[in-house]
Amino acid sequence: MSGAAGPGRAPLPCAARAAAALQLPGGAEAARPGVAVIDLRFPRGGAADVHEIVFKNFYTAFLSVRVQRAGPPGPRRWVTCLRDHRLMPSPHTEEGSQDYFSLRRHQMLCDMEQVTALRFILRQPSPAWLHFSIEELQVFPPAQKSPQKDFPSWLSQLTPPEQPASPHGELPDPEKVSTEVQQMWVLTEVIRARQAAARIGRFDVDGCYDVNLLSYT
């Protein structure tokens, strides 16, 4: 599964069962109920902290999420952590129907520590769509503190030390100059590291005008 994980973030391995539509007891024909459920468990009954859930929508209008947490032995309860989150602003039309979504910890109603199972309840009240589901489901743990790759903040907040009485009135204080030069050097390093996206100028591949046919791929 592809997905741009941040530094130090990898999706948790988990097994998701395919969406199961709601069925009324005793009902035989495949009426489209508009409700489906996806269950997700961690391998070997493990538990993990959940920080973010990322998925691609496929025509689901509303999403509710319930979790089961590791706790005292006994019958486990399902706790609702997201209720009727709207994915498609207008369920009869295409808006939001194939977009990517992120659900973060601060949007959840309950704690997400030591989660053993997640249940996604999908609702699509519009009869216009043949199928609905969510795809490319990924669950991320809280990010570890990664080592600072940017220049440390203390370097940009250097305060010049107490000014001693300058022996030479006209010359600038050497401490101050060296501080500022150091700051500027660090900033140039940062700027050099960042790629600019602006075009530099004309860009011609040699011989690029000798084309014969256009390709289809």
Binding site: V54, D99, S102, W129, Y209, D210, V211, N212, L214
Partner: protein
């Protein structure tokens, strides 16, 4: 979707990356360095003093304009997990349809190449180059033999493709139901209804002054026109893009239009831009592209025969030939659903060129700008902001599919009898109005009316007004249309739009129709 904080920081990062290294960036640096000589800049508060200097000398305004322009052009950043094609077009079936449409065009171009045994691109011999350079300002006098060239496609073909667009996950049942649209477009995109349009286009309301209505001969200019012109001059003096965009919603005075449009599109005719245009011109002189002949043919057939635009024939060639060689336009493909066709040169990937443009869209601009390089930049900017959406398949609210659906929905909702009648006689309204919308009405309206309409396109940063105007035209001629009995007769009723006044039609349709 993205929550607001990460969305904002992504947007900021993207804008910074785009502006870094641009000529504006180096100019700001140069100004900052020059300001160090000024006495009011002190070393202790260097950063603050330089910021104040940039503010008072107007450079901060230029930076603001550049940022505003970036925000307007590029869509909001996608979710980080989304692949790049998702930003071009989120719906998979539309991407697929656009891909097959492009393949069709490429096939047609390639077969034209092989049939006529003309290479796609070749270097001109030196004598021909000299000749073209001498004739650069009068290319219209050339009469090359173009009889063998066929147009690659007509708007009718594109409409057929749009009509056959279907979402495989949508219930396209055979029985008539609320899901089957009565018009030609069958995709369930979200379009606005009149209350929403009234809110969006609130500056076109009955209580607000408009150029195109309140500057007519019967209205004394003290009521609106003089004040409006004064405000326009002030906006130009301030050089503020966002204010200009807001101002232009009520129309642009003719004398200020060229400068105001350049301000909104953030075009400043810097020496680098003139140099860029000259480089493109030298590319045109040195190399001959197959598409050039197609451009010639198209311009000869359309603009040269038009009563208003034939004077600009030479300008059109100068702009369009350069445009087809401009690789900077490739940037807009990141947010367009189209993909530029590629070609292989001896096994290596070469430059990408494209084969779709609409010459009449350039012609109205010729009324405003006389210098080829500025004219070229304005055209290019308007293309990458708006007009490219008119001939690629996408779900964007300003894309041609949404415009067609908006037109049909407005007509159905507010003129149901007319819609039903036209449908019964086999004259689906979209068949008539499609060619207007796909050309942004250029070539159909009188030029001054067209420029008033394009003022609003710039002001509202959206093409939806084209669909509203198309519905308003049908509403205006509804009485005549109810009496026709065939598609040809309906087309005849709507053949001549050159006497129409755009702003009263829009106002009546949006704000004065009893629903």
């Amino acid at each position: 979707m993205l929550d607001p904080d990460s969305g904002l920081s992504l947007t900021i990062a993207r804008i910074v990356r785009r502006l870094q290294g641009s000529s504006l960036h180096s100019q700001l640096e140069r100004q900052a360095r020059v300001s160090l000589h000024k006495p009011e800049i002190k070393l202790e508060s260097l950063k603050e003093d330089i910021k104040d200097f940039l503010k008072t000398s107007g450079w901060e305004k230029k930076l603001q304009n550049a940022v505003y322009s970036e925000l307007n052009v590029f869509p909001s950043p996608c979710h980080p997990a989304a692949p790049p094609e998702h930003m071009k077009e989120p719906l998979a079936y539309m991407r697929k349809a656009q891909g097959s449409w492009e393949k069709r065009i490429l096939k047609s171009l390639n077969s034209m190449c092989t049939e006529l045994s003309i290479p796609l691109a070749q270097k001109r011999p030196a004598s021909e180059q000299k000749e073209l350079l001498n004739k650069w300002n009068e290319m219209g006098t050339d009469e090359p033999d173009l009889s063998l060239f066929r147009p690659v496609y007509a708007p009718k073909d594109f409409l057929e493709v749009l009509m056959n667009l279907r979402n495989p996950n949508y219930e396209n049942g055979e029985q008539p139901s609320f899901r089957n649209h009565l018009g030609l477009i069958q995709v369930p995109l979200k379009v606005k209804d009149i209350p929403e349009l009234k809110e969006d286009f609130s500056e076109l309301g009955l209580n607000t002054g408009q150029l195109g209505i309140d500057d007519s001969a019967q209205v004394p200019p003290e009521f609106f026109e003089n004040e409006h012109v004064r405000v326009g001059q002030k906006v130009l003096a301030e050089q503020d893009s966002a204010a200009a965009q807001q101002y232009v919603r009520q129309g642009c005075p003719t004398a200020l239009r060229a400068d105001l449009w350049a301000l909104i599109l953030n075009i400043s005719n810097q020496p680098e831009d003139i140099l860029y245009y000259e480089q493109l011109k030298s590319n045109v002189i040195q190399y001959d592209l197959l598409v050039d002949s197609l451009i010639y043919k198209d311009v000869k057939l359309t603009a040269s025969n038009d009563d208003y635009y034939f004077v600009f024939e030479d300008y059109l060639y100068q702009v369009l030939l350069c445009f087809s060689r401009d690789t900077s336009v490739l940037e807009h493909f990141t947010y367009s659903s189209a993909t530029p066709p590629k070609s292989y040169i001896r096994g290596k990937l070469g430059i990408e060129e494209y084969a779709v443009f609409y010459p009449p869209n350039v012609a109205p601009l010729c009324f405003l700008y006389h210098e080829p390089s500025k004219l070229y930049q304005i055209f290019r900017e308007m293309y990458v902001r708006f007009f490219f959406r008119l001939h690629s398949i996408s779900s964007h609210p300003s894309g041609i599919v949404s415009l067609c659906l908006l037109f049909e929905t407005l007509l159905q909702t507010h003129l149901p009898q007319l819609f039903y009648h036209l449908r019964e006689i086999g004259a689906q309204p979209l068949r008539i109005s499609f060619k207007w919308m796909v050309r942004a009405f250029s070539g159909y309206l009188a030029t001054d009316q067209l420029l008033l309409l394009w003022d609003r396109i710039l002001g509202y940063n959206s093409l939806e007004i084209l669909a509203v105007l198309a519905a308003a035209v049908f509403a205006f001629r509804a009485v005549n249309l109810m009496e026709v009995t065939s598609l040809a007769a309906a087309e005849a009723v709507l053949a001549d739009l050159s006497t129409l006044k755009v702003m009263p039609l829009l106002q009546i349709f949006l704000f004065a129709t009893v629903t």
